[in-house]
Amino acid sequence: MKSFTYERATTPTEAASGAARNPGARFIAGGTNLLDLMKLEIEVPRHLIDVNGLALDTIEPTPDGGLRIGALVRNTDLAADARVRRDYGLLSRALLAGASGQLRNKATTAGNLLQRTRCPYFYDTNQPCNKREPGSGCAAIGGYSRQLAIVGVSDACIATHPSDMAVAMRALDAKIETIKPDGATRSLPIAEFYRAPGDTPHLETTLTAGELITAVTLPKPVGGKQIYRKVRDRPSYAFALISVGAIIQPDGSGRVTVGGVAHKPWRIEAAEAQLPQGAKAVTDRLLATARTTEDNAFKLPLVERTLAAVLAEARA
């Protein structure tokens, strides 16, 4: 770990402007991912801005009947919230499928969205990795890629985003509220939050320098059967090989988002129009652009079969 300076911010604006003043600064909340990466010198921030004191840890109803989830709401608290459990069951289930109780107690809503990939080559600083060290190459391509992405990939990177929560957020059409160093705020749909890896896989989100997530909002409840199905080798604790987050309405229409297949939760609204035709039709459309490796080609049939099981469960 490299030496760094540290400050505790007291307001969101102060945090954002502090980040703008200190190039190479990082916000730290739960620290469940960032600290590990700092110890390995994969993340080498020169300055840490602790945002835990920003009082962004409440869940409140919004005027249009939705929920506003503070950036610092812990995963455990979010999953257990009665309103979330009642109206956004998908989110609660996705959260509880992720990590461990101890990690969920620390991990925050914004931090979860911003966690880095678990690609093993990203974690090994002896190996080339364009995400860790732009331009160094990608050892995962042609290497061990069983966990890695099949859609949205580039010649520079095939990393996945590991979050379960984000899959639910995407299916629920969450919006991400931010504040910039100049105090300006914006709200962007989660669909526009993650950047495709392209030639610049180290740039993962559309956040601008110093921009701080203050909340995630959910639109008013959409009802339906909300199912989160995470598929993994070890049932107790593992990142998803793939996961399916689905909201299926009584008329058979619905939403489908897939995790573990891309640099972001993967949802294509047009594919959902295929729901009446069944899992294969949806998957064919959803993963039409897939570029698999020998190691991860199984994810294609796995998504289809898992979705079929989810649809059957929704019908039951």
């Binding site: 770990m1 490299k2 030496s3 110890k39 390995l40 010198e41 678990r118 093993p120 080559y121 974690y123 090994d124 002896n126 190996q127 050892a139 042609g142 290497g143 061990y144 069983r146 598929v231 993994r232 080798d233 070890r234 049932p235 107790s236 604790y237 593992a238 990142f239 090989l241 899992a279 199984f298 049939p301 796995l302 079969r305 898992t306 079929a308 099981a309 059957a312």
Partner: protein
């Protein structure tokens, strides 16, 4: 004491303390965090500095240059040690690769530098400032690609790597029913919770190490040799070990680098291998490719059995002995086994819990299941048909005890084997395809010379001293039970001090030989102590009985304490084993039964029930023995379903080198486990009449899982681990 004739009745047979399911005597220390593990021995040496290991970034080649200047200038740094500045180093005879690499690099993450600093964080930060330039060389990393050219593995005196009896080729060719199949097992990591860790302190030319090592006497010898110093000047202390599984049988980089770091920094230094280094820096269970051929007559009698196994290791390394059990497990007049060994530039392969049998049975016991199906004979019955009471390669050598058939019969009955559908893929429970599998368990019983010293104190407490280690199985407790039984005391009147090379050399912990051998050493020492007590108290030794804290003969009973009234009494002895393990084949046996559910949509395999029935001689402590078996069953389930060190064949290293990438089962992954021990004593094994049990539990269980998956789905997967991607394309169609 020489043990060269079968044991007769002795004080252990009273079973007042031995054989009782007593709690671990070190349990309270462990659950209160007061058992000191190597890295936590904060008070044994003042002024401990911290070492951080730099591992090689390449798999094979040379270090061209190392720039240490920035690291040396970094805050808190006391020393940077490399092979270049460490002075002349030899290699211990039990290490294949050097523990300290450079300029030549033999494998990925081979240690190439140690940075010593005032704090751990300073050492870690400075270690990342070491700049190394390499000249990479092409290496061999792909076992399958080298298989064709791999020669016979070199034989050692007691363990030939090739064997042949009768006419295997002819008998196999003419067998009415036959199987010829290949199986693979991947490289696996010990993945123990406690990493290798050591604290080193020099006092002049005397070196003391607080470490985490299974084999203290081996460690002393190999470290002295590596450093080029006298054995007498090296002391190892290893009272508690947070898991070893064979990974701590031998010296690893932590202990050598701690010693070198302490010498360079002129202060005690502690080193723990960083978790990401654990998988490539240390040893692992080597991958195997195995070919099994079985021929049989329609009544199920095996007429020919052949087992070949290919594995790889660094130059001058060793093969994985995956054919070991096939020499002994089933009858059959015509047989062959062969071990081939390829040279690989991957990290060093070596022993991991039940080396040989664990991967060997993963293959053999699927083959037996396949053969039973071809023969249309129940797989339990097929195994029983081919049971043998003599070594099939040496028919004049009987097994000392062999209750394999009884294990299988009892297991089948308890497990409800009769409810298994003989037709695979026919039992459904909601979304689950359900199946049952069976496998035989087999593991040799090794015996090793083992010493102990026992002291009767003035306070009436008997203390056992031995360099025996407790890597988790309960050595403290069973050694205390042994001394208590021998001296007629309750267990709370016995203390046990272990893991110090200044104590008598023991068998150590490995190969499931520890429990039987080390308690036999305590037995031998206690026989001597009894003699001293009897003499002191003026008894005729022939009729003195030690019980209830007293020595009794006729009408006379004297408290044991009285013998030490004017000073403690000490006795020491070593049990040495004659050739009863040559005249009799000694092994442990069991039957594993597993029920799995396979998700019909995703192919996820989930264990539902596991049962092991074991015949392993006298069970010294049913509670700790059960704990050993369920732990081993868990490890076997991991091998079947998830454990896989993935080789990057371009770059030559295990990619998933942390505990997020290398998955092992944890409590939530393991369902109901049941263990049954058959009532057995084996007078050929030792005066304790016990055998090892710590490895038996892993032997065969992986194949039982594989066979259950086949029974559930009709899919035969012969490449471990059986992950869902290997099942997916043949699962039932979904609506």
């Amino acid at each position: 004491m020489k043990f060269d004739t079968p044991a007769t009745t002795n004080p252990i047979d009273r079973l007042r303390v031995i054989g009782q399911p007593l709690d671990r005597i070190d349990g309270p220390l462990k659950v209160t965090g007061t058992a000191r593990y190597a890295y936590e021995q904060h008070d044994v040496a003042p002024g401990q500095a911290y070492g951080y290991v730099v591992g090689s970034a390449i798999a094979k080649g040379k270090i061209v240059s190392m720039d240490l200047a920035a690291a040396r200038r970094a805050p808190g740094v006391l020393a940077v040690v490399t092979a270049e500045n460490a002075g002349k180093l030899d290699k211990g005879k039990r290490n294949t690769a050097k523990l300290f690499g450079g300029p030549q690099i033999e494998h990925y993450h081979q240690a190439i530098a140690l940075v010593v600093a005032e704090t751990f964080e300073q050492a870690r930060a400075a270690a990342q400032l070491v700049v190394v330039k390499y000249q990479e060389e092409k290496g061999a990393f792909d076992l399958a690609a080298l298989k064709g050219a791999a020669p016979n593995a070199p034989s050692e005196e007691d363990s030939p790597t090739q064997s042949a009896v009768g006419d295997f080729a002819g008998a196999f060719a003419s067998a009415p029913v036959k199987l010829d199949q290949s199986y693979t097992t991947p490289d696996q990591a010990h993945a123990m919770m406690e990493p290798h860790a050591s604290i080193a302190r020099w006092d002049g030319d005397k070196l003391t190490l607080w470490t985490s090592n299974q084999m203290i006497a081996w460690g002393v010898g190999d470290l002295a040799q590596t450093l080029g110093i006298a054995k007498e000047n090296v002391r190892l202390v290893s009272p508690f070990i947070g898991g070893g599984f064979g990974g701590k049988l031998f010296l690893r980089a932590d202990i050598l680098l701690a010693a070198l770091g302490a010498r360079a920094a002129k202060r005690p230094v502690k080193v723990a291998l960083q978790r990401p280094l654990m998988f490539n820096n240390t040893t692992h269970r080597p991958a195997t490719i195995q070919r099994i051929r079985i021929g049989a007559t329609p009544d199920g009698k095996i007429t020919a059995i052949g087992h070949e196994s290919w594995s790889g290791d660094l130059k001058d390394g060793q093969p994985e002995l995956a054919t070991q059990q096939t020499k002994l497990l089933y009858a059959g007049a015509n047989r062959m086994t062969s071990l081939k060994l390829a040279v690989l530039d991957l990290p060093e392969g070596n022993a991991m819990r039940a080396p040989g049998e664990a991967p060997g049975l993963m293959a053999l016991e699927i083959a037996m299941d396949e053969m039973a199906e071809k023969l249309k004979i129940d797989p339990v019955e097929f195994r029983i048909i081919n049971d043998t009471q003599v070594d099939p390669e040496k028919p004049k050598v009987p097994f000392s005890q062999r209750q394999l058939a009884e294990c299988l019969r009892q297991g089948a009955q308890r497990f409800g084997w009769d409810k298994r559908s003989a037709t695979p893929g026919t039992l459904r429970d909601g979304k689950w395809l359900v199946g049952m599998g069976v496998a035989s368990a087999f593991r040799g019983n090794l015996v090793m010379k083992s010493g102990a010293r026992v002291t009767l104190g003035k306070d009436g407490i008997v203390t056992v001293f031995s360099d025996m280690t407790d890597i988790g199985p309960g050595s403290y407790t069973i050694m205390a039970q042994t001394a208590a039984e021998m001296m007629g005391l309750p267990i709370d009147k016995v203390k046990v001090e272990l893991g110090d090379s200044s104590f008598p050399a023991s068998a150590g912990s490995g190969g499931q030989w520890g429990a039987n051998s080390a308690t036999s050493g305590v037995y031998a020492a206690c026989v001597k102590l009894r003699e001293a007590v009897v003499q002191k108290l003026g008894f005729n030794s022939a009729d003195a009985v030690f019980e209830d804290g007293a020595v009794k003969a006729g009408n006379r009973a004297v408290p044991l304490t009285q013998a030490a009234g004017d000073g403690e009494i000490t006795a020491e002895d070593t049990i040495e084993f004659g050739d009863l393990d040559k005249t009799h084949s000694q092994a442990t046996f069991g039957g594993h039964f597993v029920e799995v559910g396979v998700d019909a949509a995703t192919g996820e395999v989930r264990l539902r029930r596991m049962l092991a029935v074991c015949a392993a001689g006298r069970i010294l402590n049913p509670k700790s023995a059960r704990s050993q078996v369920i732990g081993a069953m868990t490890m076997g389930a991991g091998a079947a379903l998830m454990e896989h060190l993935v080789v990057d064949k371009r770059r030559g290293f295990f990619v998933n080198h942390d505990l997020a990438g290398y998955e092992v089962p944890v409590h939530a992954d393991i369902p109901h486990q049941e263990v049954v021990f058959l009532d057995e004593t084996d007078p050929m094994s030792s005066p304790m009449k016990a055998k090892g049990v710590g490895e038996l539990g892993i032997c065969g269980v992986g194949a039982a899982v594989a066979n259950a998956i086949y029974n559930a789905t009709g899919m035969r997967v012969r490449d471990y681990p059986i992950t869902l991607d290997k099942l997916l394309d043949r699962l039932p169609a979904l609506s």
